[in-house]
């Protein structure tokens, strides 16, 4: 049980080499579940190794329970870690694997036996205690690796892509189990993944990383609804957000984005956008689920007719691809929508939820407005 705080953490592997971690700054409360997510090579595993003490940071400080642990060796930080490869000791039985850390810490044998029994029961691996890791399936190995971490009752758990070696079905099962486990034990956890669904479903807080820099740190909802830049917006969400390049024109004291489907044109009003942006090349960010079917001139929102290029029925959804401004756009529609390739659909957008990004830098152009809108929406949901 502990808080974790990173203050301006830097890591470089030598003068002249690019920084692996740059000014990492975040803090989580006791019992929170922090997700570090990003593409491979973004520094998330390095950051985890730094928290564990397996690698030394070159600047800043790491605090556990307000105590600076930056100079401490891994064994003194009271941290347990589950590795992607599980890293079970191959010559030891499951029981010996779980006991190892406790024996090193000179816990009396009676207490060790009790602890092993508790963990084995918790993870339902009692029948495997006498086996060697090589005799276990991937899912069982994963449980044993978790058991080894749980047995020590450390201040913080670190998980380094623990589910990525499991097959798809088992991964979903273990994900739920992991969340259940955290709800029961309420131990502060840092979890590294490149899977955005794991990031969204497991985390209390998510830090999206790229090139050693935290792009955004917030709750999953903030990351999803209010991404700081185009990278975060593209990384979180499946199918990913559509990015449509567009030009802004002023009309009646309000900015509009010009959309062209090849069959029709539409000027999408952007109520909150700053008039100073007029004439700028921007990128519109529209999530597939924020595009709806609408009758032209129907209930409120602006709509545009577009020809269906490809349909992908996924079961729960019908993904329909159309072209807007020469860009392929994915729309997530209800599965019972009957449409064929070549049909023309009227598509409707919610202007309040459309995001604006700078075409060059990818930065968000109207961060606060959306934040407020989302807050309003949340309030409205809460009031219902």
């Amino acid at each position: 049980m502990a808080t974790l705080e990173l203050r301006n953490v830097n890591k470089t592997y030598g003068a002249g080499l690019p920084d692996t971690l740059k000014d990492i700054q975040l803090s989580i409360k006791d019992g929170e579940f922090l997700i570090l997510v990003g593409p491979s090579g973004c520094g998330k595993s390095t950051l985890m190794n730094c928290i564990a003490g397996l690698e030394q940071i070159t600047g800043g400080a790491i605090l556990i329970d307000q105590q600076d642990v930056s100079g401490m060796s891994p064994k003194d930080r009271d941290i347990a870690m589950v590795f992607q490869s599980y890293a079970l000791y191959p010559t030891m039985t499951v029981r010996e694997n779980i006991e190892f850390g406790l024996k090193i810490r000179k816990m009396p044998q009676a207490a060790i036996d009790e602890e092993v029994a508790r963990v084995a029961k918790l993870l339902q691996i009692e029948h495997l205690l006498a086996r060697k890791p090589a005799q276990l399936s991937g899912g069982q190995q994963q449980r044993v690796a978790m058991g080894r971490a749980l047995a020590r009752r450390p201040k913080i758990y670190l998980f380094d892509e623990p589910l990525s070696n499991l097959d798809a079905k088992l991964r979903v099962e273990m994900r739920t189990e992991m969340k259940l486990m955290h709800q029961r034990l309420k131990t502060t956890t840092v979890y590294v993944t490149h899977d955005q669904i794991e990031a969204m479903t497991l985390g209390d807080k998510v830090a999206v990383m790229k090139d050693g820099i935290i792009q955004q740190f917030g709750t999953p909802q903030q990351i999803y609804n209010d991404p700081a830049n185009q990278f975060v917006a593209s990384f979180i969400g499946s199918p990913p957000m559509n990015f449509v390049p567009a030009r802004l024109v002023a009309q009646g004291g309000q900015l509009h984005a010009v959309l062209d489907s090849g069959q029709a044109r539409c000027e999408l009003p952007l109520p909150g956008a700053d008039l100073g942006l007029e004439g700028r090349e921007i990128v519109l960010g529209i999530r597939p689920e924020q595009i709806a079917l609408g009758a032209e001139g129907g209930n409120g929102g602006p709509s545009i007719r577009a020809q269906v290029q490809v349909t992908e029925p996924t079961g729960p959804d019908m993904l329909v691809f159309v072209t807007l401004n020469q860009t392929k756009v994915c729309c997530r529609l209800a599965p019972d929508v009957a449409c064929q390739v070549g049909d023309t659909l009227a598509l409707q957008f919610d202007p309040a939820r459309v995001l604006l990004f700078d075409a060059q830098s990818g930065e968000r152009l109207q961060a606060t407005r959306i934040a407020n809108t989302v807050k309003d929406n949340m309030a409205a949901l809460g009031g219902r």
Binding site: S73, A80, M81, F83, A87, R152
Partner: protein, 281 residues
């Protein structure tokens, strides 16, 4: 898999293969057969018969005499080989462990330089080694010879262990460090138990090298501390009296038996160890 029935048992190509193999087997076995036959012959038998003829009377007289002559040197060899093998293997294992899992600044360069040792011919180290042994006061002692073998063997043993340990995932060491284990605990409790195949390879390799060594033995020992290879040479090269081929052959067999025995006992590990890393356990 195809059953052997699918193919004619004796196709021409198969015959050719077997013929070649047979010739190879004969080539390798004939010297051994000659040695064994000769060692059990009487001196008269040897001077009258030819090399491959069966002994007219089988006698162990050659073996008894040979053992009487070389037994002291046989024990010398054991006193040299056993400590040298154990020490060089132990240090090699520690070296390999450090060079693969506790890398330090310059460790790659260190390993590269160490590898040079594998390419150094025995002859090049004779003078520096004898100079060093002289300075240490270890000239012509068993301890000195052990030291030379250990130092010369380290390049090989380090290479073996380092290459074996490189294939062991880093995460194991990291996990053990988080569990609170230190440098030696990790080595003893986690790494060593996984090392059986490579330890076997190392033991066989070093045993064969050191037991069979002649050059270091002849240069760095004298008189009663000489290893069996040197004693054998002295025995065979004596120019006084009649040549006792049966004794020579028996002595050569005695000198060769321990390495043969090691291969028979631990040979399966040798092949297994050399291919280890290809398949992870």
């Amino acid at each position: 898999m195809h059953s052997p029935v699918d193919k004619p048992a004796l196709s021409p190509s198969r015959l050719a293969i077997h013929a070649v193999l047979l010739i190879a087997v004969v080539l390798y076995l004939v010297p051994l057969v000659v040695m064994l036959l000769t060692s059990f012959k009487t001196p008269e038998d040897i001077s009258t018969g030819n090399l491959l003829s069966w002994p007219t009377a089988i006698t162990a007289i050659g073996w008894v005499k040979a053992w009487g002559t070389v037994s002291g040197y046989f024990w010398n060899s054991i006193l040299i080989t056993v400590p040298a093998v154990l020490i060089s293997t132990t240090i090699g294992a520690l070296n390999g462990y450090v060079l693969s899992m506790w890398r330090f600044r310059g460790s790659q360069l260190f390993f590269g330089l160490l590898l040079f040792g594998c390419f150094l011919p025995f002859q090049t180290v004779l003078l520096p080694a004898s100079f060093t042994l002289g300075k240490l006061g270890l000239a012509s002692t068993t301890t000195g010879l052990v030291l030379v073998h250990v130092v010369y063997g380290l390049a090989f043993t380090t290479l073996f262990f380092r290459n074996f340990y490189v294939s062991i995932p880093d995460a194991l060491v990291k996990a053990a460090r988080l569990d609170g284990a230190g440098f030696f605990t990790i080595f003893r409790r986690i790494i060593l138990p996984m090392s059986t195949p490579i330890i076997m390879v190392c033991l066989i390799w070093q045993f064969t090298q050191i037991w069979n060594d002649f050059l270091f033995g002849v240069v760095f020992s004298s008189g009663d501390s000489q290893p069996i290879t040197v004693a054998l040479n002295n025995l065979v090269n004596t120019s006084t009296g009649a040549k006792e081929y049966n004794v020579d052959m028996a002595a050569a067999m005695i000198a060769g038996l321990p390495t043969l025995l090691v291969y028979v006992v631990a040979g399966k590990y040798f092949v297994r160890g050399l291919t280890a890393g290809a398949v992870k356990g």
